[in-house]
């Protein structure tokens, strides 16, 4: 090792030390601690605190509320992400086709993405108001109780989430569209390709990779989504919008089951990591073939 390399190595460790300290104490350490908590029965108000082994996890297998929360999480994630991708690509294509006003267009889109999810929840709570809500007025004066009807509440939450996060997908796709070389389109024109053929054979394949990344990010976000349903419906009515994350939160801080709630948190963690790992595999193979 030359002297220069030794200096650089020491510098690297020095510069990274604060990061390692911060992530170590406030992410990794709690990450290990939560595993330990999840192996315990801990209900502070009853003074219960004892080792439980895998009891909390075993209970999940027979817990119908968990089964329902898991189903809700999956339905919410799949429908939200699917709608976001379709609408996001459409919005990106529309903005890209514009000659002027792109900045204004992006502002209108990003507005929805940039504000706190709690604000989104408040906007939609007002839109969904049974008598004075804009949505019911627009639907011709129906008095639909969007957030109170077990059949409508989950679609209502999905709609709010799509509104908030579609712009993220749109902006990523739009940036990718800007980077497609114009020669490709010129070549297609020379070959006599129509608009549809150009879209299907050139534009969409060029978007494939960024879409995979966008889907990954959005899926991870949707799996751990909390703010929107917690504020908009609180998991109700009748538990129809309760995701695993909301269930975990209520177990932790409303019924004060620290052990069981932590086990639910660990489940979300494992779910997120499994999805991330699977996607990275797909991304890597698609990088080879593309």
């Amino acid at each position: 090792m030359t002297r220069r390399e030794a200096v650089n190595r020491r510098r690297g460790v020095l510069l990274l030390a604060p990061t390692v300290l911060a992530l170590g104490t406030l992410t990794v350490y709690p990450g290990v601690w939560v595993l330990w908590l999840s192996l315990q029965h801990r209900i502070p108000i009853f003074g219960v605190s004892r080792f439980a082994g895998l009891d909390n996890y075993a209970f999940l297998a027979i817990d119908s509320r968990f089964a329902s929360a898991a189903a809700t999480t999956i339905i919410f994630t799949v429908t939200s992400v699917a709608l976001e991708v379709v609408l996001g690509v459409a919005a990106a294509l529309a903005i890209h086709a514009q000659r002027g006003g792109r900045r204004v267009a992006l502002s209108l889109l990003l507005l929805a993405w940039a504000m706190p999810a709690v604000v989104t929840a408040k906007l939609f709570e007002w839109l969904y108001h049974p008598t004075a809500g804009l949505l019911n007025v627009a639907l011709g004066g129906h008095a639909l109780n969007w957030l109170g009807d077990p059949h409508l509440a989950l679609p209502a939450v999905v709609l709010a989430d799509v509104w908030r996060t579609m712009p993220f997908v749109a902006v990523l796709c739009y940036a990718r569209l800007l980077a497609i070389p114009a020669e490709l389109y010129e070549a297609a024109q020379v070959d006599g390709a129509g608009r549809l053929a150009t879209l299907v054979l050139i534009t969409l394949p060029m978007l494939a990779r960024i879409l995979l990344v966008a889907i990954l990010f959005r899926t991870l976000d949707a799996l751990r989504a909390f703010d929107l349903m917690f504020v908009l419906t609180g998991g109700g009515p009748a538990g129809t919008t309760e995701t695993i994350t909301v269930y975990a939160y209520r177990a932790l801080f409303q019924t004060l089951q620290l052990g069981f709630g932590s086990a639910l948190g660990v489940v979300v963690f494992v779910l997120v990591m499994a999805v991330a790992w699977a996607y990275l595999k797909i991304l890597r193979t698609s990088a080879v073939t593309a």
Partner: protein
Amino acid sequence: MRRRVRTLADTLVLAALASYAIPFFWQLLTSFKPEAELLRVPPLLPSQLTLAHYRAVIERSLMPQALANSFGIATLTTLLALAVGVPGAYAVARLPLPGKRWLLLAIVASTAFPQIATVSPLYLLMRALDLRDTWSGLVLVHTSFALPLTIWLLAGFIREIPIEAEEAASVDGAGLPGLFRWVVIPLLAPGLAATALLTFLFSWNEFLFAYTFTVSEASRTIPVALALFPGVFEVPWGDIAAASMLASLPPVLIVVGLQRFLVRGLVAGAVKE
């Protein structure tokens, strides 16, 4: 003719996007509507505009305190995340590190870390250290949570800096502080701005930790104060609308005024390898 068709198409797209933002504009309109007309729709437009809801929110609610808390916490989080993140990102991007592969993997993995998984131990930690209801507690937690993405973004931007600039500086005998002061920070400025905006927005918008680690009303941040906005006999829709608009003010200003940096940060996060 063709030109007119294009202009028409442009207008249609803008109109479609403007209607996409209707939930926001409707709330904006609601915040200026007289109380008596709130629940009487149609007509959609109010007979007159009023500032009564804003006055109520500013004079008689916790929102001013919450705005100050959020502004302070988000600003300090951004500064701390950059102070820790810039050196960290430089090490990741440019220097040899033991176990670098695993380190990078850990950083990427922790950007996906769900908050719900660490909220229970962090709650116990905050309680044990007496950090509940303090700015410091939330700043520390927000910083550690934002840090992986901060480093990921900054490392990408640092790799774009021509290495010759840094080499020239070392030849001139600049030490580590000099290198940052004269080369890295100035060349990194646009990327630094993009990263700072995303970190600020994360902290400003964050709800789960802020909700869990605050007990007293006076220490609530904006999202918490808004989620728990009190109503005595009925829901004060007009006041909530006004409070929502105040909560959206910094994000809206960033989207409109600093869009270039925001988009740059968003895209960089997704395409950097």
